[in-house]
Assembly symmetry: C2
Homo-oligomer: 446 residues x 2
Amino acid sequence: MDAVGLASTLERVHDADVAEALNAIDPAAAARVLAALPFELAVRALNQPELDHRARLFEHLPIDRAVALMGAMSADQRADVFRGLPQRVAARLLAAVDRGTQDSLRSLLNYPPTTAGGIMTTEHVEAPATWTVERALVQIRSGGHARRPVYAVYVLDPVDRRLVHTVTLRELVLADPTRTLLEVGDRHPPVTVRAWTDREETARLIAKYDLLAVPVIDEGGHLLGIVTVDDVIDALIKEQTEDVHKLGGMQELDEPYTKVGFWTMIRKRGGWLCALFLSEMLTATAMQHFEGALSRAIVLTLFIPLIMSSGGNSGSQATSLIIRALALREVRLRDWWWIALRELPAGVTLGAILGAIGISRIVSWQLFGFYDYGPHWFLVALAVGFALIGVVTFGSLAGSMLPFVLRRLGFDPASASAPFVATLVDVTGLVIYFSVAYLVLRGTLL
Amino acid sequence: MDAVGLASTLERVHDADVAEALNAIDPAAAARVLAALPFELAVRALNQPELDHRARLFEHLPIDRAVALMGAMSADQRADVFRGLPQRVAARLLAAVDRGTQDSLRSLLNYPPTTAGGIMTTEHVEAPATWTVERALVQIRSGGHARRPVYAVYVLDPVDRRLVHTVTLRELVLADPTRTLLEVGDRHPPVTVRAWTDREETARLIAKYDLLAVPVIDEGGHLLGIVTVDDVIDALIKEQTEDVHKLGGMQELDEPYTKVGFWTMIRKRGGWLCALFLSEMLTATAMQHFEGALSRAIVLTLFIPLIMSSGGNSGSQATSLIIRALALREVRLRDWWWIALRELPAGVTLGAILGAIGISRIVSWQLFGFYDYGPHWFLVALAVGFALIGVVTFGSLAGSMLPFVLRRLGFDPASASAPFVATLVDVTGLVIYFSVAYLVLRGTLL
């Protein structure tokens, strides 16, 4: 590939498309293209979180070019790249960049990438409360690197430098230029987050208050940086992918499905699959316990898959409802008893519907002569019906409580995947089924 | 509740918090509070998509107040409310609002809410390409209703009024005021969407190009409106909720879990639960078919739940991977064969791992004397092991292909829930298990 030729083509397209084009070639070649690109364009491409293997690209770049590009990148993206660098390379680069970049990196790398501090950027416009609108606009124009986002001016107390007010760029443009910053914009205290606030909570605030950026403050109310709406969208999409993977009963992949290695994928899927398999082995133990009943009443085995899957399905529904309600803060940890009181009648109702269908099926198959369920066929039908009520009720209850238990233990409620819930419900489902069957069929079949 | 007292409290808080406070009281009371609120604040509260039952509130408002509030709302939120109004109320309100509002409503209601046209707003700033930066800024300041979003100026061809360029507010503020609009901002052609573009695709573009708003154009390239980043975040969160509900094997709830009525919830859960139950009945039919084998070899029944759940779990993993890869456009419909070629060895590998665990379990239980699997225990162990390879491979293949089939048939791939996949895999899983058992145990146990 002619690196210079490609570079000249890339100059006419969007940054995100440059990143996409670089993703299509291998990292060493991409690093050569980056080195050949005009400096500004290379910086913009590197600022795209969609660019794959950014850390790997830096390992392939000549050191002086790497240092220059690092220094020109936006602070949050630079920190993100640093997190992915091998210790050795990171140390060498950190020693080579200028003092300001070092400080910014050190402070940002304090925070894990799932927190507001971990996705914030330190490039924002701040101004003392005594400034006029005009002076702030002049400041933006003069300091204005056109590529850096300017969503708002963060107004600080001139004495203790605490954040007291925010004025959006739109409010600034619309305002009378002779007013002071405190006189324009919303009267409300600014919406802020702490550096350790979860990124999902940060996204929720930005969405709720329709913000373009939310300021991140420390305990003393001093401004540390801002989280911008585009980073929040990226975080939302990433969380969504993680949630779907977790709900499918596996560890989340950190890379696109098409790019993740075969053995990495096997590891991420195999771990949960084995854990679920080992737990599900309890069903074999439970079945062994009931073998006497099974040998006397083979007919009961016919409905085992049907009853177990109904418990799993109702549990999976309840779990997905609660996971989402917890994520959206519609319910809180302390509301668990309220949910249990609601899921109990829901489970009984749904179980009764399925039970009625199950009984009708057995009765009609018997009466129409499709299959012979033996002399006690009606009792068998009743046992299946009552077992369904019990299993679906238990499934709904267990499924709705599992996310609370996980959250309480400090895990992500989204780990309460359908397979996890089904496994939990399966063993109990078998026990419920056979217990109900004993009660209904004692003296006849059992 | 003292409506005037509450109204005066609400004036000092954020719009989103006003909406939240109104959500906590019943719609009739909320409508009384809205009527007592200062007009501007009532409009801002109504512009919050987080406000529940907005359409119901309008039914409770006096007609003249309702008309005035409707007229002052932002165009996209107004259209959203109109979609929820009963035919009769909608017709009465539409007749009462002014001509401009009527036209804007009619054009926006053309598009379903899952498209860019359905979430766009028509309040944007446009200017002919001949204008200078200064003139555009003056226009923004004079026309400037401070509450309406101004993210960018959309620059139109002065002759045929096609969209030719966009200048963001930031670029406008930083630019030399004497330049013409065409001379400032990005050189690239503007990123645009069509009115019928899916809202998820619109969100993907906004995220990819880090935009604050994306212009919506018609076939001729004329500007219809813009989709803003805050609407996209709301759409993303709504999609995410729908996906989680669908993945849990139910119809998505349109309201928060805490607010949805008991019978609505039963209906949304019961529908899928019954459909899955009816399909799962095929397992009973399959089991009936194998009853002869079952009565001769009860020991085989012990592992039915274990084997079936493993198929379901591996299918659920594969499905969740492909759903997400399709949503993020990492794979396309035509890539199905590539995925199948990848899932085949993955399924065999995962199945072999589980098979090895299953065989070890049976062998060790037998050798340590925990349970007696009969004289042919080793053949039983082999049958279970090979069945696991077959079932997990089939699960991975079926699970990964289901989202493609659904997309091809015009359904949302996210409907390929774990319960759906498990049901699909269960019947085949039984058939695979018994077929493998026949092969391995023929002449001995069967």
